[in-house]
């Protein structure tokens, strides 16, 4: 089923199977035919766990989206609401239940909270007079969802905003719970490292939860050697920069949602059949992107400039393979050729898709504006002219480019200058308010509260120190055959990943000074193991580090970590976990406030 989850050092299919089992068990508790009413936000993440076929096997006959007033008619015995524990959803559910009660034959109602049951929500259901209507009220602890063989995400959309803007730790609690689930399946993680306020809290919760479970000794041999918890606000810079890997650019331009991307259909029109071009498909082309697809696995993490050559090489290999048919003379040879056909056809389809996507991306990356924007970003990141009003940003505002783009650039400049001079900051803010509307003062306040945008205080710009110590800017970047993680941004090495790299070798003690400049505490905790479970590493065997980004991670950072995992003398392989897969645009958008 999901073989791409099991190719890595840690078999994440084990986790997927565990959550699938939990789902099946719940469904079987509600005997008889059922309809599921979905909290719309959950359908994407659930799709990665269970296709409709699994639900169907367990007598799920209908599926609806949770909406106000009445439920659509369904002749089923059970109605199951699958929802996040949110008060506004409870109000809708109660509307549904009450109108159903008036309708006639009684049904069994159930409610499945994802990822956690909530007393607050149950109280609300009680106040609305429907709590007693539910036969089963349970939780489905779907905290970490496997996205790929080395990637887990909670897909909690508001995590960064909640943690850093609203001081709401709910998602951190879920993260800690998710880590406990992982440890139950993959063994206790002996060492925990962390940097940042949220990282500290998650580690504290984990230690506390471990005490709660003293009863059941975990006797699984540990798969992970250590855990690195990183706050997103330790590195606010990286997501602001435009990602330049293939996957990163797809996400920047089209947005990848739960491993699916929707693309403009024109490029994917069937070319061969008849008089093509007359009736172009109008519905977006939806493609799933993960390492189950061989070609995608090969190119996703490359710098986009290195993708073209791979695609053309692949094209030659494939057409050569098809040419082989002329050499097949004997029946045996023909048979052999035919047996390989399905694989070859799949490869050809995959190549055609990615060639089309690459063309779409190239249209963007070769545009003048993309070039100008990138130039400005790179100037900022390498420390050039960060302390004055930038004329490209000014022009973007004057031409009313999308506000998110402008905010992203202004924040990038602010972060690369440890805050903007008051005069510069006020100028940008005033320009933005006048051009895009005064209501955006709320968004600007949010950005200031999270530290993305700020006045320079104390008059010292610490970014150059950080940049130099961590070697964040590399002039001699090799995009084709990279030697350093900086290839993912064509020069800029993501700070977060640099921290992970330095932790692995030579250790954080070498960068104490920088760690003190970056926000939040850094720490190390040990979780003692019984002697029988202590690992004796074979010479040359790599360590496995689980790195958890609290507040989101970008595809370019993931690519950089995969690059480190693949280094022959790297010594560490990474499994990546995050509260949400983000890019600069989705991240800034989550912090925007639109009062009307």
């Amino acid at each position: 089923m999901a073989t791409h989850l099991s190719y890595g050092r840690v078999n994440l299919n084990v986790l997927r199977e565990a959550v699938r089992r939990e789902l099946r068990e719940f469904l079987d508790k509600c005997a008889g035919s059922k309809a599921i009413v979905w909290d719309e936000y959950l359908t994407g993440p659930f799709g990665l766990i269970a296709q409709y076929s699994l639900l169907k096997e367990h007598e799920v006959e209908k599926m609806f989206t949770l909406k106000g007033s009445r439920l659509p008619a369904a002749d089923v015995k059970n109605i199951i609401f699958v929802v996040r524990p949110r008060l506004e959803l409870m109000d809708i559910i109660s509307e549904n239940v009450l109108s159903e009660d008036r309708r006639g034959p009684a049904r069994d109602f159930h409610i499945l909270f994802v990822p956690r049951r909530s007393l607050l929500c149950e109280q609300r259901l009680k106040d609305l007079g429907v709590l007693g209507s539910f036969i089963h009220r349970e939780e489905y602890s779907l905290d970490l969802i496997p996205f790929d063989g080395d990637l887990l995400s909670m897909e909690s959309e508001g995590a960064f905003k909640e943690c850093y803007l609203e001081s709401d730790q709910t998602s951190l609690y879920h993260a800690a719970k998710g880590l406990m689930t992982l440890q139950a399946l993959y063994g206790t993680i002996p060492q925990i490292f962390g940097k940042g306020e949220c990282a500290r809290q998650v580690a504290n919760m984990m230690i506390r939860m471990k005490r709660e479970f003293t009863g059941s000794q975990n006797s699984i041999f540990p798969v992970f050697d250590n855990l690195l918890l990183l706050d997103r606000n330790v590195d606010l810079l990286t997501p602001l920069a435009t990602q330049l890997t293939y996957e990163g650019l797809i996400d920047e331009i089209y947005g990848i949602q739960n491993s699916y991307v929707k693309l403009p259909p024109e490029k994917f029109a069937p070319k061969k059949q008849g008089d093509g071009g007359k009736d172009l498909p109008t519905e977006a082309k939806k493609l799933q992107l993960n390492s189950a697809e061989e070609l995608y696995a090969e190119i996703r993490d490359k710098n986009f400039n290195a993708v073209g050559s791979v695609l053309s090489k692949k094209a030659k290999v494939i057409s050569a393979a098809f040419e082989e048919r002329h050499n097949a003379k004997t029946v045996g040879e023909i048979k052999q050729f035919v047996s390989q056909l399905p694989h070859m056809q799949a490869a050809r389809g995959s190549l055609a898709n990615h060639t089309s996507i690459a063309e779409l991306i190239k249209d963007v990356t070769t545009s003048e504006d993309f070039f100008d924007k990138l130039t400005v970003e790179q100037e900022f990141m390498s420390g050039i002219d960060t302390d004055k009003v930038n004329s490209y940003i000014e022009d973007c505002i004057a031409q009313k480019h999308p506000l998110i783009k402008v905010l992203r650039l202004v924040c990038l400049q602010s972060v690369c200058n440890s805050g903007l001079k008051q005069k510069v900051l006020d100028y940008y803010k005033r320009e933005i308010l006048q051009t895009y509307g005064y209501e955006h003062i709320l968004t600007l306040h949010n950005l200031e509260k999270t530290g993305l945008l700020k006045p320079q205080t104390g008059g010292r710009n610490t970014y150059p120190t950080i940049r130099k110590t961590l070697r964040l800017w590399m002039d001699d970047v090799n995009e084709q055959n990279p030697t350093d993680i900086s290839y993912v941004y064509s020069g800029y090495a993501p700070l977060s990943v640099r921290l992970a790299q330095l932790l692995s070798r030579p250790g954080w003690r070498s960068i104490e000074e920088v760690l003190r400049i970056l926000p939040g505490p850094h720490f190390e905790e040990r979780q003692p193991l019984p002697t029988g479970l202590q690992k004796k590493r074979q010479p040359g065997e790599n360590r496995v580090t689980l790195i958890f980004f609290l507040g989101g991670v970008t595809f370019a950072e993931i690519a950089a970590l995969r690059f480190l995992s693949q280094l022959e003398d790297g010594g560490t392989e990474y499994v990546i976990a995050t509260t949400k897969l983000i890019n600069g645009a989705s991240w800034i958008e989550s912090l925007m406030e639109k009062p009307f």
Partner: protein
């Protein structure tokens, strides 16, 4: 040989029977059992008797007495029944005595006659009274089924997790069914009832008529029915003296028998080994006993598991014996010793003569961190005995906040509960405590409590943001958080106000707050916004069209587009729009209008602060090469090549590039040499390049 067969009597032709006393009961009963309500727990558990269960008002002296005996008749407890009239008695699987009263209240007692709790079977039962009640056992626990005076059934399949189900009406049922029972199919409890010649099966959704296969004709009423302990088999006794035995699913008949006794039996029960093929029913009348089946065999097989055995020992307070058994059987701690220790602790907390400190210490010493021990359960028991302080001390040992907090709340230690909830990081738990506190404390105290708990405060703010906006304002006010108050009023100016006056007033409040917060920028920006709003309103009045809620930039653009250049200029001046942006704005607006004349006039009004390349670009965007060329000539040297290429003048672009001796520009021009006529130009560049390299 004689002596062995002496007490056997013949029964029919081929069988013999004998009678002897199996066990002599230790009890000394004054009443006849037939005058009592009796309930015996399964597996040799205790027996409960209610003497004198008369229903009507009686003098206190004649109040009924509830007695509990062990299976061998040793008295365990006796208490005067002071509650309401009782309809039915029964033991739960946990050996708790369930006493069903006429008003639908169920009182729960322990094995030693200790009152545990009570619950009600619902309003409908209260109104219509209980006519009949049954206590039954399923794999989920023990349930109660009620037949009310209105001839409706209500049941709860598990009294441990009370969910009441009111069963649907039986059509045409005017009087009580002649007999009924609970059956369990597909893990769901149903009711089987007999009305005249018909049988009905009630589940929570429907009432369906059922017919036992192979039932003899002529039945006009069912007098008794019995379901086997495992719910697999069913026996029916009819008014014709006929007995039908089959599966409870009513799919299969096992056997039938006609006994020719038409009197309703007092009792009918199944007696057979669960897995044995020999199935039998015992039917009893006043002075007659009959066994019906393929081959009678009458001793109940004991299905006690070790766990149940241990539970029974614990209930009888035989802790050391239970622990010895655990150790002997090497049971894992969680299932064995620690569970028994927990029970011991629950008993210990009831010893009122020992001080709180001593009890807590003794318990902690013995239990320590033994896995599987729930300190909160023990604390709950202590609290149940009125020992709140002891409960709090015990809760300190509880590592699971999810268990700790609800109990602290129940004991009204909400502030302690709050700090424990915060420690856990479980925000849902924190919310729960907060809502509790909110109801418990007056507003001032509540706010004070929040003030000391920043994490709780921020959570509560989020709650208010979505649920109670006014409270949010009060919270900010209390903390003198003027910055947030400002934002609050900005939001209100959009959400709560429709009239311009209202919106402006809200903005004024916001601006005042920003001043107090020393955020001069925000204050000034908000004042600008007020100014703009008023002006937009005036524009709408004077010019028509929509201006409200446009940004300043778009307002100026709209004015230009509607030919109001003077007003646009004025507005730009009033709000000090920087020159560069104003040029971009006008350029874009005039090009949109395709007012080329005005654009040219504008371009000549003074030296462009944004250069002339944007003019070229925007004209080309509107496909006006003629106009674009006008501006291309005015573009400064740095962007000249770009401008010339834009208007398609490759040859001149080449000349400029060569003149500049710029390699970058030359290759840019080369890349544009695609047309058939560009050959000469390309050659020219190549020559220039070659020359440059020579030098």
């Amino acid at each position: 040989m004689d002596c062995y067969t002496a007490n056997w009597n013949p029964l029919g032709d081929s069988a013999f029977y004998r009678k002897y006393e199996l066990y002599s009961m230790d009890w000394d009963l004054k009443e006849e059992l037939r005058d009592c309500l009796v309930a015996a727990a399964p597996y040799g558990g205790p027996i409960a008797l209610l003497r004198n269960p008369g229903r009507k008002e009686k003098p206190a002296s004649a109040r009924p007495v509830l007695e509990i005996y062990s299976a061998s008749g040793v008295p365990l407890a006796s208490l005067l029944w002071k509650s309401g009239p009782m309809v039915s008695l029964g033991w739960s699987a946990e050996e708790e005595l369930l006493c069903v009263q006429e008003d639908g209240v169920v009182l729960v007692y322990g094995l030693h006659g200790d009152f545990r709790r009570h619950f009600s079977m619902g309003n409908e039962v209260l109104q219509n009274r209980v006519l009949d009640a049954r206590i039954f056992h399923t794999e989920f626990g023990s349930g109660v089924a009620i037949l009310t005076g209105a001839h409706r059934f209500t049941l709860s399949a598990n009294v441990g997790d009370l969910k009441l189900r009111r069963m649907p009406e039986v059509p045409g049922l005017q009087s009580a069914p002649s007999c009924w029972t609970t059956v369990c199919q597909d893990r769901v409890a149903h009711i089987l009832l007999a009305v005249g010649p018909d049988l009905y099966l009630l589940d929570h959704a429907a009432c369906s008529a059922v017919i036992p296969p192979g039932l003899a004709p002529g039945v006009s009423s069912f007098l008794q029915m019995a379901v086997s302990f495992t719910y697999r088999h069913l026996a029916l006794f009819t008014d014709t003296g006929y007995i039908w035995m089959g599966t409870a699913s009513l799919k299969e008949k096992l056997c039938e028998f006609n006994c020719n006794i038409r009197a309703p039996p007092k009792q009918m029960v199944w007696c057979s080994r669960p897995r044995s093929k020999e199935r039998a029913v015992v039917v009893g009348w006043e002075r007659r006993l009959m066994v019906v089946g393929d081959a009678p065999e009458g001793i109940q097989y004991k299905q006690l598991t070790i766990q149940v055995l241990l539970d029974r020992l614990v209930l009888r307070r035989l802790y050391p014996l239970a622990i010895q058994i655990c150790e002997y059987l090497r049971l894992p701690e969680v299932q064995g010793v620690s569970r028994i220790l927990a029970h011991w602790a629950c008993y210990k907390v009831q010893q009122k003569d020992v001080s709180d400190e001593d009890v807590a210490r003794a318990i902690n010493q013995k239990l320590g961190d033994t896995p599987g021990v729930s300190y909160s359960d023990i604390a709950a028991r202590a609290y149940g005995c009125g020992r709140t302080e002891l409960a709090i001390k015990l809760l300190e040992y509880e590592p699971r906040s999810g268990e700790q907090v609800p109990l602290l709340l129940k004991m009204k230690r909400s502030k302690l509960a709050l700090s424990k909830a915060i420690e856990s990081g479980d925000t849902d738990l924190v919310f729960t405590v907060l809502l509790h506190l909110k109801n418990e404390l007056n507003r001032g105290d509540f706010f004070m409590t929040l003030r000391n708990q920043p994490m709780a405060l921020s959570l509560y703010r989020q709650f208010c943001k979505h649920q109670e906006l006014e409270t949010l304002k009060d919270l900010y006010n209390q903390d003198d958080n003027h910055q947030e108050l400002g934002s609050f009023h900005i939001r209100a100016s959009y959400a709560a106000e429709e009239r311009i006056e209202g919106r402006v007033a809200a903005l004024q409040t916001a601006a005042d707050a920003f001043y107090k917060a020393k955020n001069e920028f925000a204050a000034k920006a908000t004042e600008d916004q007020m100014r703009l709003l008023r002006l937009q309103r005036r524009l709408e009045d004077e010019l028509g069209g929509r201006f409200l809620d446009l940004s300043l930039h778009d307002t100026v653009t709209t004015l230009i587009l509607s030919g109001q250049n003077k007003r646009a200029e004025q507005l730009a001046r009033d709000f000090r729009i920087p020159d560069k942006r104003l040029w971009w704005l006008k350029l874009t607006a005039l090009a949109d209008l395709e007012d080329w004349e005005e654009l040219e006039k504008f371009s000549k009004s003074k030296k462009s602060p944004i250069g002339y390349l944007p003019f070229v670009e925007i004209c080309m965007k509107q496909h006006n090469k003629y106009e674009a060329k006008k501006y291309a000539s005015r573009v400064g040297p740095e962007q000249k090549v770009k401008a010339l290429l834009l208007v398609g003048d490759v040859a001149q672009a080449a000349d400029v590039a060569i003149e500049h001796r710029s390699e970058a520009e030359m290759s840019l021009v080369l890349s544009h040499c695609t047309g058939a006529t560009d050959g000469a130009t390309a050659d020219k560049i190549q020559r220039a390049r070659a020359q440059a390299q020579k030098k």
